[in-house]
């Protein structure tokens, strides 16, 4: 074990301590402050769980999580099965479409569906137009809309996990069941599905945690009685009412604790139950079935149905972006570039900020992620597993927790939050695992003997890294870089607590436009712009060769 590695590890730990451990400790500390007396204690927590309202938000959030998980599971299981098992045309296209929501900003979906399914949205106007209904149907404002939007956003996590599971389990497990006399559904439910539970669970936990993280969707849909939304409102709007602020902080901590514990529980369970390692002789394709014509048509109808729902997001936002005064009409009639003109003229800073902050966050990400990946894969530095663990944990932390803890930790004392650099730093901290996972897996694939050969030839460690490792890692790293950029570009739940006038990014601009003036046109144009930028970045990924699917999965996987 070289001294260099140990100093490197120490340096990286220092960064983690400063950017993760310190602010989160401050967050927890603050939650024990009592507003009335100015003292300390667990009073806030006791009150939180005795207060009927906060308790309700907690139960509501759990209920919503359950509903979202149920919905994504019911829709995701057949979808994953079709994608993984049926031989059909357009597999790549459908896979890409169905996975698209992972890379689309969550709020983009909300806006699109409000325009399309809202009270006087396209669907209702059409239905009333042909006289099928007299009064508009409330599709979207309420629990049903919340479940629908959050489920569509999180569906890819279930589909990705399960279809990987369906592909990877040894075909003979199912054949054995078939020979034993179990056909069709029975075999699926007694053998196939149980064997896929670990891969299902990996995605399911992220789905379940989403309602503990997403404060924006409930807020836009007028459903505020959920933990993250309440936390956001309490902290952002009632910061003068110390008591409400502390209750907000408690809500953040409670959310985080739920998220972290469920995440760890799932991780532990998945590790314990890993079945894939037990099987031998798996084919790369897995068990691909040629379904009957009827089943195949059904599968197509189903895939197209989901794909259309996903595609509605960019299409509706596109329509809204290129039109004005799209109100009380099923489709826009007045086409214009006015929205884009307004964005470019009045707030070009938003676009600049988005690129600047995400770009700087990315540089931090690479500078930090590559050495960490190196330490974890190639060295035996003590504490490297703990380092990996802490960083992976960031996957589960709600964005709101990081945002709030940063504003608490870096306002006084270390007044970092008074400078714009706090924005990229926060984005970096929040999206750290995304890059690290990618770098990590590319490092695992790099045969150490290639590096050893260089060292034997007389090159030092650093020279070897730049001459041998980096060029070979480049592909995987580039995919990670672009994924990281996409995720940082969309970040709002952390950034919204930290921005000051002039620091707004595109997502914040979208939120403010909706929030202040209900300027749907401009918000839609901004969201459309983001989708276009994301799409271009995804094209770059697929050009690099990582594949959209792999990129997205590498990021989402835990």
């Amino acid at each position: 074990m070289s001294r260099g590695n140990i100093s490197l590890a120490a340096l990286l730990w220092l960064v983690i301590a400063f950017l993760v451990i310190y602010p989160l400790s401050i967050l927890v500390l603050e939650s024990f402050k009592i507003a009335k007396t100015g003292g300390w204690g667990i009073g806030n927590y006791i009150e939180f769980f005795q207060d009927a309202y906060y308790l309700k938000t907690f139960v509501n959030t759990l209920f919503l999580s359950t509903l979202v998980l149920l919905t994504t599971t019911v829709f995701g299981v057949p979808l994953a099965y079709i994608l993984a098992r049926y031989r059909h045309w357009g597999k790549t296209v459908f896979t890409a479409l169905i996975l698209l929501p992972i890379v689309l900003p969550a709020f983009a979906g909300v806006f699109a569906f409000i325009i399309f399914f809202g009270k006087y949205g396209t669907v209702n106007l059409l239905l009333m137009g042909i006289g099928l209904v007299e009064k508009p149907i409330n599709f979207i404002y309420g629990l049903q809309g919340l479940v629908f939007i959050q489920s569509l956003h999180m569906l890819p996590f279930i589909v990705l996990g399960l279809s990987a599971g369906f592909t990877n389990i040894d075909p003979s497990f199912e054949e054995a069941a078939e020979v034993e006399g179990a056909s069709g559904f029975r075999r699926f439910f007694t053998v196939t599905l149980p064997l896929c539970t670990p891969s299902y669970l990996a995605g399911a936990v992220l789905v379940f945690l989403w309602p503990f993280t997403d404060w924006l969707t409930p807020l836009i849909l007028g459903q505020v009685d959920f933990l993250p939304s309440v936390a956001y409102i309490n902290i952002s709007y009632h910061f003068t009412d110390m008591h409400r602020k502390y209750m907000g902080i408690v809500a953040v901590v409670v959310s985080s604790i739920v998220c972290i514990s469920l995440f760890l529980l799932a991780r532990w369970w998945v590790e314990k139950k890993k079945y894939t390692g037990l099987s031998k002789g798996t084919t790369s394709e897995g068990r691909v079935i040629e379904p009957s014509a009827l089943v195949k048509s059904g599968a197509y109808v189903y895939m197209i149905f989901i794909a259309i729902l996903v595609l509605l997001i960019p299409i509706v936002l596109g329509l809204a972006a290129f039109s004005r005064r799209w109100v009380f009409e099923p489709f826009p009639t007045y086409w214009t570039l006015e929205n884009f003109r307004l964005i470019l003229l009045e707030s070009p800073g938003l676009i600049k900020n988005s690129f600047l902050f995400s770009g700087i966050a990315l540089i931090f990400g690479i500078a930090f992620g590559l050495p960490v990946a190196y330490l974890i894969v190639r060295t035996r530095v003590p504490g490297k597993d703990a380092l990996d663990f802490v960083i992976t944990l960031m996957l589960a932390f709600p964005g709101i927790a990081i945002g709030v803890s940063y504003i608490l930790a870096f306002w006084k004392g270390i007044p970092l939050a008074q400078y714009w650099i706090i924005m990229p730093i926060a984005l970096f901290a929040r999206r750290l695992p995304y890059f690290l996972r990618m770098a990590h897996s590319s490092y695992l694939q790099l045969d150490p003997s290639l590096e050893e050969a260089s060292e034997v030839s007389g090159a030092g460690k650093i020279r070897t890294f730049f001459n041998i490792s980096l060029p070979l890692l480049l592909k995987g790293v580039l995919v990670g870089v672009v994924m990281f950029f996409i995720m940082a570009f969309q970040e709002i739940s952390t950034a919204v607590f930290l921005y000051k006038g002039g620091w707004e990014t595109l997502p914040i601009g979208i939120y403010l436009n909706w929030h202040r003036g209900m300027e749907f046109g401009i918000a839609a144009a901004m969201a459309f712009l983001m989708i276009v930028i994301t799409f271009i970045l995804l094209l770059i990924i697929s050009r690099i060769g990582g594949g959209v699917l792999k990129a997205a999965w590498g990021a989402g996987e835990n």
């Binding site: 040894d170 003979s172 497990f173 054949e175 054995a176 069941a177 078939e178 020979v179 034993e180 006399g181 179990a182 056909s183 029975r186 007694t190 053998v191 149980p194 064997l195 539970t197 139950k273 079945y275 037990l278 099987s279 031998k280 002789g281």
Partner: protein, 360 residues
């Protein structure tokens, strides 16, 4: 009428013919082994019997019932038990649940399920382990679970797909005999697939040797070893010296043939198919290493005596292996381990015409 009849079975994967219109019959209570190198079509044939593959042509009749020609019978309705190469013991179920999976699908009382399971567990020597998970078992134990699971439903046919290939050598030899006696005792008609010739010879009543999608020979272990149908079979089963040559003379009214080889003008051999042997035909004069007789002084024989030099010597414990060079041709010879000869010494080889066969 045979218990399993495979009739002109044809199966291909895209452009590759895996099974080329084979005919095969398995008698009731018999253990037949399909033996061949990887890619010869043995596993595909087995999977066709199981119903896990759908062949393009042909039929499989089990106990008088056609599996293909009168509509495809799915694996679950064929009344078979199968042991997979990788065991395929379900890792999320305990041993007991693995074993009774198929029984539960039949309408049997819980009591008799327990009894059946207990019997089979004892039969394969797993009693006491029924509450373990497969990950807590050794490879050999998992194999026994797979076997128990295949046997518990009293199937009409037992199919075994290289069941021992993932075990270490010692255990493999042990389990060979165990499977054999188990299957014998139960009198169950079985088809066994392996690429291990020793395993096939130990375990089978009859062996079907396969090559590139064809059955090239069917017979008992002795028949196949002593009278291989062609060069491929002789080479695959045991070791054989092949001396390429040409038929020069066929004496009347005998099964003897004279062959010219690289190292001798005239060598006397025996042929099993006199009709196919014509003068001028290219053949292999073939003899097993253990059939070559070794002398230090020339013995009193008139035919097939050759002088050679020991090029290499290998000690294999219970016997010695000599590579003897006869006029540049290398002949492998198996001799008793106490022979004192060293490399470089001269020897006389007698290739007994009765043991020296003609192969194509």
């Amino acid at each position: 009428m045979a218990f399993i009849e495979i009739q002109s079975l044809f199966k291909r994967y895209k452009d590759v013919v895996a099974v080329n219109r084979i005919q095969l019959e398995v008698n009731k209570g018999e253990l037949l082994t399909m033996l061949g190198p990887s890619g010869c079509g043995k596993t595909t044939t087995l999977r066709c019997i199981a119903g896990l593959e759908k062949p393009e042509e042909g039929d499989i009749v089990i106990d008088g019932q056609p599996m293909l020609s009168e509509g495809f019978v799915p694996p679950s309705k064929r009344g078979i038990g199968m042991v997979f190469q990788n065991y395929a013991v379900w890792p999320h179920m305990k041993v007991f649940n693995n074993i009774v999976y198929g029984l539960k699908l039949q309408k049997i009382s819980r009591q008799s399920i327990r009894e059946r399971a207990q019997q089979v567990l004892e039969l394969v020597g797993l009693d006491g382990l029924e509450n373990r998970y497969p990950s807590q078992l050794s490879g050999g134990q998992q194999q026994r679970v797979a076997l128990a699971r295949a046997l518990v439903t009293n199937p009409k046919v037992l199919l075994l797909d290289e069941p021992l290939s993932n075990l270490d050598a010692k255990l493999r030899e042990e389990l060979r005999f165990e499977i054999k006696s188990l299957v014998r005792r139960m009198g169950i008609t079985s088809v066994y697939v392996t690429h291990d010739q020793a395993e096939a010879m130990v375990i089978s009543d009859r062996i079907a040797v396969m090559d590139s999608g064809n059955v090239v020979q069917i017979g008992t272990a002795r028949e196949i070893y002593e009278k291989p149908a062609n060069r491929f079979v002789a080479d695959f089963i045991g070791t054989m010296n092949f001396m390429s040559g040409e038929v020069v003379q066929i004496p009347q009214d005998t099964d003897a043939v004279y062959v010219r080889t690289e190292f001798s003008e005239k060598m006397l051999c025996t042929t099993s198919s006199i009709t196919e042997t014509t003068p001028g035909k290219k053949v292999y004069a073939s003899i097993r290493p253990e059939d070559v007789e070794v002398f230090t002084e020339p013995p009193q024989v008139t035919e097939n005596l050759f002088k050679g030099t020991i090029a290499h010597k290998a000690y294999l414990g219970n016997f010695l292996y000599f590579f003897v060079s006869v006029n540049e041709t290398m002949i492998r010879v198996q001799v008793p381990h106490h022979l004192p000869q060293e490399e470089g010494q001269e020897l006389y080889l007698f290739l007994n015409p009765q043991k020296c066969m003609i192969l194509f």
